[in-house]
Amino acid sequence: MKHRPAPPDLKAAALFVAVIAALFALQFVLPEYHRLSVTRIMVLAVFATGYNILFGYTGLLSLGHAMFFGAGLYTAGLCAYHLGWGVPAAFAGGVVAGALLALLVGCVALRTTGVSFMIVTLMFAQVAYLATLYFTAYTRGDEGLVLPQAARSFEWFGASVDLTDPATRYNLSLLLLVIALAAVWGVARSRTGRAMVAIRENEPRARMLGYNTFAVKLQALIISGALSAAAGAAYALLFAYIGSSFAAIQYSIDALLYTLLGGPGSVLGPVLGAFLMFYLVDVASQYTSAYLLVTGVALILLVLYFPRGILGTVKHRWLPWLP
């Protein structure tokens, strides 16, 4: 290949801009309740986007991503609560914690593949969850902590940002989502992204073509962990609450489910998946306390009949240019 850079994909770029513009415009038409929901969904979509890097692009199915979300959530929240860190520092701390945890977990868990990898990540996440309960003196376990007033606003280049303002929260979570999507799109089009896809499709062959597959997988896990942790840290700081349930296995399953539904390996898939699944569960929970039934049925149906997810199918059938 004459190293011509891949042509800027105009259609894909236009789609991104349209989606972001639509999300931005949405805040002016949504009633308060739904605006808050969409704020949450966008943060969860960042989490799923991080998950997608590992599962959708690299082909590694983790059942323990709640630990990265939790690492971001707790690092940011505890630093703000106990150490009085400002919002930007707490957020950065959360992201770094997630990346470091991913490095640590990766060095051990990436020695396994397939089913063992799934179970090992599940168990590590269970240890992390139990840790949030064990150190209850600091975390208050299930009951959780509400962040103090000092962590509800911050100065940013002279401007003061008020996190109790719903519009501010909405736009900050949109900003984070834009950054996450740009990151994934960038990674997907990079040399590392190509290596990740090669590993997903045929790892022995990738190794035999000169790829250090362990290093590539570790990179993917670190990017994935950092993005998941960014979502966790944002969740803690935007909504001013941290609790053990955010590190529970349910969150790992949700990340998987959002990605599966939207389309693993497509940039916008996890966003769509997060939207649909969040509202599906939201509606179901108005009728029954057994709303997790929806999660179960969705998982089974997706694996059985729809393994490419929505955007994956659209891309495969109709729009191959879809990012």
Binding site: L61, M118, I119, Y134, L260, A290, L293, G296
Partner: protein, 293 residues
């Protein structure tokens, strides 16, 4: 202070725990060993057994022993039927692909658990023990039912061992486990073997649950602990090795009670989960790698 009675009591409790764990874990191990399927919904079959036992017992008039006996026969059969349906409708269609089946059984976990919540409700419910006979030791009396649990579990396991090791059915199972293509070449209907094994695996959990429900209570979330413990046992014992599983179940059933006497249960769970994860990474053949196959 005399420590002996205390230790003796702890061992008895450990024995009961180990017996139930043995049944549950052997079911999981059997399914993994023969089908290479990691059944995340296994704990829900346990829960279903307990909840059905409550239901059957509450339907049966007269002495509690009748209800219990009925439950001991019918609950596992019903659980087996549910597992059979899951195998036909889900696992078989996925061609037993390992990663897909894990995701599907996670879905199955939610479906069974939430259906129980819908029908059975969120409350824990007691089941009456079949009899109140107490065995009198020098220091204290001990529930006769708990000893029955141990004896029954041992009997079921022995029967299972006999079937697997000595009969044609066992031979077919072992052949399928060894290599599914070769088994097919020898005219074994692999899909039928898988369906049967999946159902029997679930029934093991259900029997354990029915036996123990009079001392525990039935609750729709009760499947999670046996699931985690069975995973621990199966991994420590060596994936798919039945003998290793039994050894590990006894060890862990015993130590679980003792450890939580000395440590915070949360810390004990953290340590054991971490240990097991590391075993899976560094010693996937288990700690008691009896040469299987």
């Amino acid at each position: 202070m005399n420590f002996a009675p205390f230790l003796f009591l702890a061992s008895l409790e450990g024995l009961v725990q180990a017996a139930v764990l043995c049944l549950t874990a052997v079911g999981l191990s059997l399914v993994f060993g023969v089908m290479r399927v990691v059944n995340v919904a296994h704990g829900e079959f346990f829960m279903l057994g307990a909840v059905l036992a409550w239901w059957l017992a509450s339907l049966t008039p007269g002495h509690a022993a009748f209800g219990f006996a009925l439950a001991l026969v019918i609950a596992p059969a019903l659980v087996g039927a549910v597992a059979l349906a899951a195998d036909r409708l889900i696992l078989k269609r996925l061609d037993y692909r390992p990663e897909a089946t894990i995701v599907a059984t996670i879905g199955l976990l939610y479906v069974i658990q939430q259906t129980a919540l819908l029908t059975f409700g969120p409350d824990a419910r007691p089941v009456e023990a079949p009899f109140y006979f107490r065995v009198q030791f020098p220091w204290f009396g001990y529930s006769g039912h708990k000893l029955l649990v141990v004896a029954a579990a041992a009997a079921v396991l022995l029967a299972a061992w006999y079937v697997i090791a000595k009969t044609r059915i066992g031979l077919v199972m072992r052949a399928t486990r060894f290599d599914r293509d070769t088994a097919r070449a020898f005219g074994i209907n692999v899909h039928r073997v898988y369906a049967a094994v999946f159902a029997v695996g679930a029934m093991f959990a259900a029997v354990g649950a029915v036996l123990v429900v009079p001392v525990r209570q039935a609750h729709y979330l009760m499947g999670l602990d046996p699931l985690l413990l069975s995973f621990i046992v199966v991994i420590i014992g060596g994936l798919g090795s039945i003998r290793g599983t039994v050894v590990a179940a006894i060890l862990i059933g015993f130590s679980d009670g003792l450890i939580s006497v000395f440590f915070s249960p949360t810390l004990a769970k953290m340590a054991s989960t971490l240990l097991v994860a590391l075993v899976l990474v560094f010693k996937p053949q288990g700690l008691f790698a009896v040469q299987s196959r």
